[in-house]
Amino acid sequence: MPDLLFELFSEEIPARMQARAADDLKKIVTDRLVDAGLVYEGAKAFATPRRLALTVQGIPARQPDLKEEKKGPRVGAPDGAIQGFLKSAGLASIAEATVQKDPKKGDFYVALIEKPGRPAIDVLAEILPIAVRTFPWPKSMRWGTGRLTWVRPLHSIVATFGPETEEPDVVAFSVDGIDAGKTTRGHRFLAPGEIGVRHFDDYVGALERAKVVLDPERRKQIILADAKNLAFAQGFELVEDQALLDEVSGLVEWPVVLMGSFDEAFLKIPPEVVRTTIRANQKCFVVRKAGGSLANKFILVSNVEASDGGNAIVAGNERVIRARLSDAKFFYETDLKTKLEDRLPKFDHIVFHEKLGTQAERIARIGRLAVELAPLVGADVEKVQRAAKLCKADLLTEAVGEFPELQGLMGRYYAAAQGEDASVAAACEDHYKPKGPDDAVPSDPVSIAVALADKLDTLTGFWIIDEKPTGSKDPFALRRAALGIIRLVLDNGIRLPLLKAFDCAADKFPQNLPGENGTVAFQAHVLSQTPGHGPARAARYFVGAELRNFFADRLKVQLREQGARHDLVDAVFALEGQDDLVMIVRRVDALAAFLSTDDGKNLLAGIKRAANILRIEEKKDKAEYTGAPDEKLYRQDEERALANAIAVAKSDASAAVAREDFSVAMTAMAKLRPHVDAFFDKVTVNVDDKDVRENRLKLLNEIRAATRAVADFSRIEG
């Protein structure tokens, strides 16, 4: 079966867009092929800086013929209906239709329409220009006098179609004056001439001879292997960097790996600064010595095999890197001349957020909050105070101004350099952590206190001014902040009452911030939720409650990723006053363990059965069966046994919960199981005696109430 070769040759495509563009090209073309009834065998797409290429193998030479039955009016229908049917089915007379028997509704006409399939190459000639015109580039442009848009000017198109063994045909189409053909070009500098191509196989080979490696994965392999070898040959080791590898492989069609060096003196700068300078500005790799420290070498990936073996290229890159490192060294040394605390007054004039005030105000809030949190995490109050005061000061340094991604890290270096306590210096960096789900969680109490305060201040502040994340929009990374708090608290086993923490954080903000309380509807809602509070307090109270729900959602996401059931989190959060994450997770764990036992499963079934009966009867009677059952009304032993078991379970479970021993609480609950089973086995709830029936319903309610000591079982699925 024939194959398609499709290449779009343009000016340099941004590296970051190439991989996605290859995927999009494949999807757009193959989806349309399938829609057109052309089921193919395989497809693969590639990108280089100057071309997108697609091969689709095994496309049928023709579309299948389509047969369609079109149902018409009944036999003997009015002439208008018959004529309409003939027209829509494309028939000349009713004699061309067949009659289908239907004893119930009467016989009716059916037209058999046959649509012959078209040659695949004709279909491709329609699909391919549409793919070009509708291509979803993140940013595209016009050029010259044309109207076509592409990521950068598009120069030529290759589109061939045919079986492997034959000379393929050109898929004849044209887009904005560019005719599809069989000609492409090689490397911009090394082989700029035209190349005739036929099929994918000779295309790849011809490109390779013209110094173009089509497959980005192969370019990456070449770069990585050559870089490692080059480093190894000199007794060094490449510092691998996947994101950089992805990027540089999109900047070259013919990777040539070279090594350069810089003055050893630059190694006195913190290694992260050296690496960031070389990586961010020059897109070069760094290498390390056997001991792990950076070597005064770098690895660059050139796009050409130069006639002097690359000497001029290496020399040029060395000069640029020398200038960049000189700047970095200058920044670093200049920064060291000013103490971190001496930078703080500038924060008075720097706005953190227009509604939330200046950076100075924010730093003061974080300081006060961190001090309040210090005893809770076992941190030294003075160190916490110091760390909170200095932790943002590096934002004003030259080094961070140049490389914002080094914020925190530079603070640590500068704090250590001015003789701060090790915990204080560490907190300058670690209070930003954890930055993501894979980032390490700090364990030093000083870092923990400042990290919690930093994130609580952010969350509470943006919640007060009603700037919450919506859908995919989370410009202030509030989800990440919440997850950060969750991980800090859980990994370190910190007993942090969230509602109180939100309250403490909210107290640090001035009353009536702009945007506070949101809309009138929101305010009314707040008041209806919290009678007896003044509007301002009420709003803040509501912020806390809402944040708790936000945390419940984040915790669910977090636990689900660890394999826990989200309904168990709901079952625990549904209990009153649950705002201690450590306890919540322990309850969830204990609950999960319990529910994996037979006792757990059966008790859950029993509780659900009790709840169902109650719900139905309460609805029927329009009454609520709460309150203690009357023991005088018990008629059967099973009732008494259950009542006793509930009393024991309730008291044992409550005592265990008070000791925070949730597995014992679950064991206490488990003892209910045989009595619940026996009750349902032997006792009929809906009896004629009204009082006995009511009493039994109250007993069922007691089961539900007792089990709430550990979780709201009604929230558990299954």
């Binding site: 000016e11 340099e12 941004p14 590296a15 970051r16 800086p49 940013k139 595209s140 442009m141 016009r142 050029w143 010259g144 006098t145 990521v151 950068r152 000017p153 120069h155 500098f189 900047l251 020059q282 897109k283 070069c284 660059l300 050139s302 796009n303 050409v304 130069a306 006639s307 002097d308 001029a312 290229i313 020399a315 040029g316 890159n317 000069r319 640029v320 890197i321 020398r322 200038a323 004039h349 720097i350 706005v351 227009e354």
Partner: protein, 314 residues
């Protein structure tokens, strides 16, 4: 080509020879070679030969050197790479020819950058000028890891779509010349290509100016006067724009008679803003509103230009 030249005119020896080589290359291509615009501006793009000529349907090919003033980039002559006054070489071709990249590479060859020895790369860099209401897509051009030019296909200028599209090349002259001459400090550039006593360096010409202007830009520029100048330029720009409209019947018939003088005031306002910014007297929130005010002027000038003969009004 450079081997035919006397030594002191060769681009790898002489800063002025380097500039002349670029001018000659683009003159040979058919560009109008202009002289610098006689106003202070932050970049060659502000020159009316780019900003205004990029608008409208008429073909336009021009090349020129433009001194660029970046008050904030002054370093009192102490930094080997940063200057508050430097030269840009600007090429604008409308519509962009299909082989603009090749033309650019040939121009590098003309100033002594051999693509068989050097690694020249087009690295994504999209250009946007909030003050001009302009944006385009293109690259920064790298030579052995150093950014030596900006290459932009204008999509919009002064808020108007560019059709046809103009291609803009901006060469950082000092940086490129440093590369070609092999010096690490801009002040060491050989300006006139001579040796010994007759040699004049970039430092001889500009070091004192860098020191004095840095002092001026950061410490002494008269901010009260500058605030007033901003207002005056803004006011004058609007006044000339209002006065320049000549009443025709419908909108398509209206003509403007003073787009260029009005645009001068927009350039003026933009530079005054840069000075105020360097003096640190504009707060973060105010900054945005100043940029917006200049953009409004630029947009109105663009609209006026499109109603002139140069802008394509028949």
């Amino acid at each position: 080509m450079s081997s035919d030249l006397p030594a002191h005119m060769r681009p790898e020896r002489s800063f002025q020879g380097f500039i002349l080589a670029l001018q000659r290359y683009w003159a040979d291509y058919g560009c109008v070679v202009l002289q610098p615009y006689d106003m202070e501006m932050g970049a060659g793009t502000f020159h009316p030969a780019t900003t205004l000529r990029a608008l409208g349907p008429k073909p336009w090919n021009a090349a020129y050197v433009q001194p660029s003033r970046r008050p904030k980039d002054g370093r009192y002559g102490e930094n080997p790479n940063r200057l508050q006054h430097y030269y840009q070489f600007q090429v604008i071709l409308k519509p962009n020819p299909p082989n603009l990249q090749e033309l650019y590479l040939e121009s590098l060859a003309a100033i002594g950058v051999d693509s068989s020895l050097h690694d020249i790369r087009f690295v994504e860099d999209d250009w946007e000028s909030p003050t001009l209401g302009a944006w385009g897509l293109g690259w920064e051009c790298w030579c052995d890891g150093m950014e030596v030019s900006q290459f932009t296909y204008f999509q919009q200028v002064a808020g108007f779509e560019c059709a046809p599209v103009a291609g803009e090349l901006t060469y950082g002259l000092e940086r490129l010349a440093m590369y070609v001459q092999g010096v690490d400090n801009v002040y060491d550039l050989n300006f006139n290509g001579r040796d010994g006593d007759r040699k004049v360096t970039y430092g001889d010409v500009f070091l004192q100016a860098e020191q004095e202007y840095s002092r001026h830009n950061f410490e002494y520029a008269d901010t009260a006067m500058l605030f007033e100048q901003f207002k005056m330029a803004e006011g004058a720009c609007k006044k000339y724009l209002d006065a320049g409209w000549q009443n025709g019947g419908d909108a398509n018939d209206k003509r403007h008679l003073m787009a260029l003088p009005a645009y001068d005031q927009c350039i003026k306002a933009s530079h005054v803003f840069n000075l105020l910014d360097a003096r640190g007297v504009i707060s973060v929130t105010e900054r945005q509103s100043y940029i917006l005010r200049v953009r409004e002027l630029a947009k109105a000038c663009g609209a006026a230009w499109l109603a002139t003969a140069g802008g394509g009004r028949a």
